[in-house]
Point group: C2
Chain length 96, copies 2
């Protein structure tokens, strides 16, 4: 199934910036970045559980926000993209 | 149906910052902000079309990215949230 992951990580501190890098790195292990803080991951139930646990272990639940959207298997016709493709340079100029 | 809207707007210029504010404002007319650049909108087909056209009219398609995910009517059990709730202060400290 396809799971969409969106996140806000509060990066005003260096620990926040570290959390952001870690969240991004874990998501990259499971799927594809489509926007700066949006990933699409094709996973089975066990992988989804594992991914969630890893992310929950990293984020600061008082500061950061994680959302998961289960788009099922027939996801291709549910997604529409307009404009520029995902920036791969997340350390580059501010985009949000 | 519920439509999830995610966006990256390139804000290195003042015109980009203006586009970001406009995108956010239009999305607010149709739904609820759940993360800084993520909105959930409950719309019918006509509203969805109108919303898309308004957003396409604002963004710079070479610089910005818009994605729409149609989550259907049975969306409540497809969405999971962990951590802090949406920041309402989008002009506040950098969160992405």
């Amino acid at each position: 199934m396809m799971v969409l992951i969106t996140y806000d990580v509060r990066t005003v501190t260096s620990t926040g910036q570290r959390r952001l890098r870690q969240v991004s790195k874990i998501c990259q292990n499971y799927g594809q970045r489509v926007q700066n803080s949006v990933f699409e991951c094709v996973v089975d139930a066990a992988q989804f559980t594992s991914l969630k646990l890893q992310l929950m272990d990293i984020i600061d639940q008082d500061e950061d926000s994680l959302r998961f959207y289960q788009l099922g298997n027939q996801y291709k016709n549910k997604v529409e993209h307009i404009g520029a493709k995902a920036s791969l340079d997340v350390e580059g100029p501010l985009i949000f």
